[in-house]
Symmetry: C2
Subunit: 434 residues, 2 copies
């Protein structure tokens, strides 16, 4: 179809929602993607490009003429435009920005000055602001007469002459009120606003907490500079959960299914390497007990069970801790209570599994002494797992390191080392193998 039949393509693609045309672009052969955009010309909605994988978007933008991109970007809401531009190099950005009309250019340049992942980057700079002395009727007439309104909006903003935010008026309040009433009577001064330099995760928590649909974004002087809307927040929440989940599994958050084999393998290498160092440490601990192992080979059979139980219990606690830190449910106020709880849970399950695993070990090897050794080791390692599983994420958070990314290898190190050391150590003492 991509052999140039513009009309056919337009009919097929023209009416699709941006998410659907995004999917279509991803499914196309890489060569055809920029050609589709060029073929459709001004009928192509660049919003679709915000819906495709980062790598694919960059590829397409690189292929297209700067003029084409500039024309497309000019049609976008400012938040989508920033999203498209922010991953490009400085030079590419300038090349495109220079081709935009002045007001759009200035707005985009200002947004791009805010830190990455801040509200300033995600906000829309199109919004409706009115003076407090306007009436409802004036406001409605203003909206009826102005062509250049934002595509969708849910609130209007009331500002003073210096453009400082006074408050918000939701559209439903506006609609329910008679025309002669002054806006100043409607304004919600308890409006919840966001600061342009706030991190997008903070903004997401804020939206979620107060069930917001939109929130005004203000600068250092309290001036209204933009609006954050809930659809951007939904994406942030999704991305954030995605990051934590992948980080806990040892995968970079940016990893995508479309990444190449070589790229994926290389990006997963560091986590495996960290784990290898951890495993070497365990091996070193085991090697200290070579004498005991030679005298009693049953220990070699049983020791991985102890370490693996510790690893899993540690992962349980760590998962809870990382998630609770991310959602801010775990903080200074309840840290001690949760530490006590996790250690108690570890000890309690330690006791349960001590009985089960001790009995099994003693029975299988017909050696009652193994009950004592196994039981003591299991209690030790599960308690240590509870303690390490909570203290390590808390400690990393305090050091300013993302606990989701880095907790895993440390927790495994503790549970493995404690597991092998306690089991082999207790066995060596109990059976006098030393």
């Amino acid at each position: 179809i991509e052999s140039g039949e513009k009309d056919l393509v337009l009919r097929a693609v023209g009416d699709l929602h941006e998410s659907d045309s995004g999917d279509l672009i991803e499914a196309l052969d890489p060569d055809l993607r920029p050609r589709l955009v060029e073929l459709m010309g001004s009928a192509f909605d660049f919003t679709a490009l915000t819906q495709v994988d980062d790598a694919i978007r960059e590829e397409i933008l690189d292929e297209l003429e700067p003029e084409t991109v500039a024309a497309g970007v000019a049609e976008l809401d400012s938040d989508d435009a920033v999203y498209l531009l922010e991953d490009l190099t400085r030079d590419e950005q300038t090349e495109i920005l220079d081709k935009l009309p002045a007001p759009e250019r200035v707005a985009l340049e200002r947004s791009l000055l805010y830190p990455e992942e801040s509200a300033g980057r995600r906000m829309q700079t199109e919004f409706i602001s009115v003076a407090p002395f306007w009436t409802v009727g004036q406001t409605i007439d203003h909206m009826r007469e102005t062509d250049d309104l934002p595509e969708r909006f849910y609130e209007i903003y009331v500002v003073d002459p210096a453009h400082k935010l006074i408050g918000t008026v939701s559209l439903d309040r506006l609609l329910r009120t008679k025309r002669p009433i002054s806006i100043s009577e409607l304004v919600d001064k308890n409006h919840r606003s966001v600061h342009a330099t706030d991190d997008q995760e903070e903004v997401a928590r804020f939206f979620e907490r107060y069930d917001l649909i939109a929130a005004p974004v203000v600068d250092d002087d309290g001036r209204l500079v933009g609006v954050m809307t809930v659809d951007d927040v939904v994406d942030v929440i999704e991305d954030e959960a995605d990051e934590d989940l992948k980080a806990l599994g040892g995968v970079r958050s940016a990893e995508e299914l479309s990444d190449s084999v070589l790229y994926t393998a290389r990006s997963r290498f560091p986590w495996l390497f960290a784990n290898m160092l951890t495993a070497f440490l365990s091996a070193f601990v085991i090697s200290r007990f070579e004498g005991s192992l030679e005298k009693m080979v049953a220990l070699a059979v049983l020791m991985p069970i102890v370490a693996s139980m510790g690893g899993n219990a540690g992962t349980q606690t760590m998962t809870v801790a990382v998630r609770a830190l991310a959602t801010q449910e775990l903080g200074r106020s309840n840290a001690w209570r949760i530490i006590r709880r996790e250690v108690s849970v570890g000890a309690l399950n330690g006791l349960a599994f001590a009985l089960i695993m001790g009995s099994c070990a003693a029975f299988v090897f017909s050696n009652p002494g193994l009950f004592v050794v196994m039981a003591l080791a299991v209690i030790t390692v599960l308690t240590a797992a509870g303690l390490g599983g909570i203290l390590i994420p808390l400690g990393l958070e305090k050091l300013g390191v993302d606990p989701a990314v880095s907790s895993g290898p440390f927790v495994t190190t503790i549970t493995d080392v404690v597991g092998f050391f306690s089991f082999l150590g207790i066995a060596t003492l109990y059976f006098h193998l030393g």
Copy 2:
């Protein structure tokens, strides 16, 4: 303060946002919680109860008189009311419902008939619907004159005489249009509606995909029965990501920081038990090589490293697969490509770590033969980890089992068994230990 000083409490708590008063309730002593609600009487906003942990909510509702609860529930939006009622027993529900005015009662009873976690449970039954022949002016006047409007709304709905949904009109469109224009000219017939029996996760994906703020909910006959709003969807997305993350870490999704030690320990037991069986299987594999281990104790030192590398590589692949299945990025159309990719990534990293770990093993034990054994075992286990890490989640999904909950133990079993078996087996053959 809770010694009965109503005025003081009212002044302190009365104006808080529901999320803040929810936090306050959680921080209170359990005995004081229902007393606070009773003390505040009709000034207590029951919405706050939707913001506290499930266990705490049930406790409070159990303590309160059904009359108090009924009075509080009557004030709520229908979606919040359903949320409060749905975890109660049938009897408790009936007791409270019987005390409600008839229209509220019927609406709530109908919502409660829909399956758990469906759009019907989460929807709000308060909405504004108008006939297509109304004008913009009539509609605005209707809204100005009606007292019983939903607390917040973003769209109005156009229905035919049989209450079948014709389309939606967003408030901004309404505000921008002159009074004499007919609603039928404004209506967006491409409205995206949700079915009342749709699962909330599907609805969340749908909102996210099309950046919706609200969507009409229709029944089997296409009649408008309610509205889903984005604030509920944000909660669903958050819960869903939470579930997957916790499931991968071996923790029940409903686990909360306020759960007791005993309860938490018991709920984490099954996952640890499954892991124990897995570990026993590994131990059995090791026990088949007791002879080899006796002859060469270095193998006991090195074998946990191999198994642990496999476990971590398997977790990486599994994490990617589980997440991609949850977000529907991985499906029938690309499964083969992703399987090939994961196996290749595993083999490639296997090769890299074969060189590193083989060299280390040979050097530390001054035994060049260990290079060959270690290298072959590492390649085998990392390739198997890639294969198992993708095939198991795919297979579980096909069987209708949640891959996030159940993949872990299976993947670990595979990587452990393959790890120990390949390393000890290759060593036995290579060094003629059999």
